[in-house]
Structure formats: C-alpha cells, structure tokens
C-alpha cells in the first residue's frame, strides 16, 4: 500500500473542499482580466487543470496496468480500471468546458480543423472503448490481462497528442506550456497552480472513494458466494 493510501478519506475530502474553494476565490476575485480574452479567460484555470488531471489518470492507469502485467499485483487491475474511469470523467469535463470556451472565443462549439481538439477526442473515444472491451470478456485473469494491455497502448496516445499540437501550424487553440515553461506568470500562474492542485486532490479523493466502493463490492460478492 502506498504512503498516500494511508491518508483518511475524510481528510482528503476536506482538503479538496478547501483547495477548490480557494481556487474559485482566486479565479473570480484575485486574478485580473486577461488583456486579450477578458473575463472568459477565467475558464482556463479549471479547463487546463482538468485536462492535465485526465492525462495523469490515464498515465496512472497505464502504470497500474504495467504493474499488473509484470508484478502480478492483485489490486493493480482494479486500480487501473478505476483510474481509466476517473480519466474519462475528467475527459468529459475537458470536452464540455473546452466547447463552452471555444464558443466564446472562436464563435464555434467545436472545430474539426483543430488538431488539439480532435486528438483529445480520439484519446477520449479510445478510453471509452476500454469499457467495451472490459465488459465483453468474463471476469478473471484473461479480462485483467486484456484490459492492462489496452490501458498501456492508450498511454502512447498522450505524447502523440502533445507532439502533434506543437508540430501543427495555423492553430487557434493556445499552447500554454512550451519548452521554455508556461506562457504566463504573476497571479495567473499562482491561480493556475492552486487550481491544478485542487483538481488533482479532488481527482485523488474521488479515485479513493470509487476504489473503496469497488473493493467493498468485491468482498461482498465473495462473502455471498461463501455463504451460498
């Protein structure tokens, strides 16, 4: 069990609440309006934080999948599954908040010509198919192995997505992180860091909550079978 797994769930929930409230206070009351986009730029703080959290969930899922395949860690398959699920929830939020931001900034809900949007959608749909694969196979080692291999393949799409965005030309989607660091500073950077920490802690809290529920479900099933 990892060191972070020892943090009690109520403490994590309180930390999430405090961080999210602080982040919202900074977004709406501290950070100044952006010179180009004005008030609408405030979507950036949660939109980018949620996007990076979704990527982190998919990377975490791949790491757990790798542990399942190499170390035969008995909990790794379930952890990988829960992380993919979390990644999809945050991925849905990225698409929704991104569409709203696109409507204000570009006047369109979606642009098929933008590589960054399309590649994220491809990544999202790839992980949606993970569930189709997982539930098409009976529970057992075969399902765990197939799911693990699929989760490992998915993580390859993340660097492809990042590289394609930077290689593409004529973009209207802003690139906020370059090789030289973030394209912003001052209060914007402080607020972004708080928002990123808030979303990461929130994601970890939800992950622990879902994982706890799934483990309890599994134990109950075993008990029911033993009593039958």
């Amino acid at each position: 069990m990892g060191r972070t797994a020892r943090i009690p769930l109520p403490a994590l929930a309180v930390a999430s609440l405090v961080l999210v409230t602080t982040a919202l206070a900074f977004v709406f009351f501290v950070v100044p309006n952006d010179a180009n986009q004005g008030f609408s730029q405030r979507i950036f703080y949660f939109h980018v934080s949620i996007a990076l959290t979704a990527y982190a969930c998919f990377v975490g899922a791949a790491w757990k999948a790798f542990r399942h395949l190499t170390k035969q860690d008995p909990d790794a398959d379930l952890e990988s599954y829960v992380l993919v699920h979390q990644g999809l929830i945050f991925g849905t939020l990225v698409l929704l908040t991104g569409s709203i931001w696109a409507k204000i900034s570009w006047g369109h809900w979606w642009l098929w010509s933008e590589d960054q949007l399309v590649l994220f959608l491809v990544l999202f749909l790839f992980y949606c198919a993970y569930f189709m694969l997982r539930y098409s196979v009976d529970p057992g080692p075969r399902r765990a192995n197939l799911s693990a291999v699929y989760a490992l393949f998915g993580v390859v799409l993340i660097p492809v997505s990042f590289a394609a965005i930077r290689l593409a030309k004529g973009l209207i989607h802003p690139v906020v992180f370059t090789r030289h660091g973030p394209n912003f500073g001052g209060w914007i950077l402080v607020t972004y860091c708080i928002a990123q920490a808030a979303v990461l802690v929130l994601a970890y809290t939800l992950y622990r909550l879902e994982l706890g529920g799934k483990r309890l479900d599994g134990r109950l099933r075993e008990l029911r079978e033993a009593l039958a």
């Binding site: 004005g38 529920g213 109950l220």
Partner: protein
C-alpha cells in the same frame, strides 16, 4: 451579466454538476452496499457471528 460572464458561469456550473452527479452515484452505491451487508448479516447465525473474529474491511 455580460455574455462572457454567462458562459464562464455555465462552464463552472457544468464542472460542479458533473462532480455532484458522480458523488450522488457513489452515495447510492454505498447505500446498496450497506443494504447487502445487512442482508448478509441476517443470514449469518448469531453464534457464528460472536465467535468469528472480524477483520476490518479495507476501504479507500
């Protein structure tokens, strides 16, 4: 309220709503698990329940 303020509010409301729905689903699931634990506890004979040492469930 300007148009951009409306859109920003909508974006944050969407985030809040999705997280709220997720927590609601988890709460309903925990309620179901509680019900199932009660059902199982009723099926276990009282003597067995007193003698068998209980291991705490690993949650979270």
């Amino acid at each position: 309220m300007t148009t951009s303020e409306k859109y920003v509010t909508a974006a944050y409301c969407v985030v809040f709503a999705v997280v709220l729905v997720y927590v609601l689903i988890m709460a309903l699931k925990l309620q179901r698990l509680e019900r199932e634990v009660d059902e199982l506890a009723e099926r276990v004979p009282e003597d067995d329940a007193e003698e068998t040492p209980r291991e705490p469930a690993r949650v979270g």
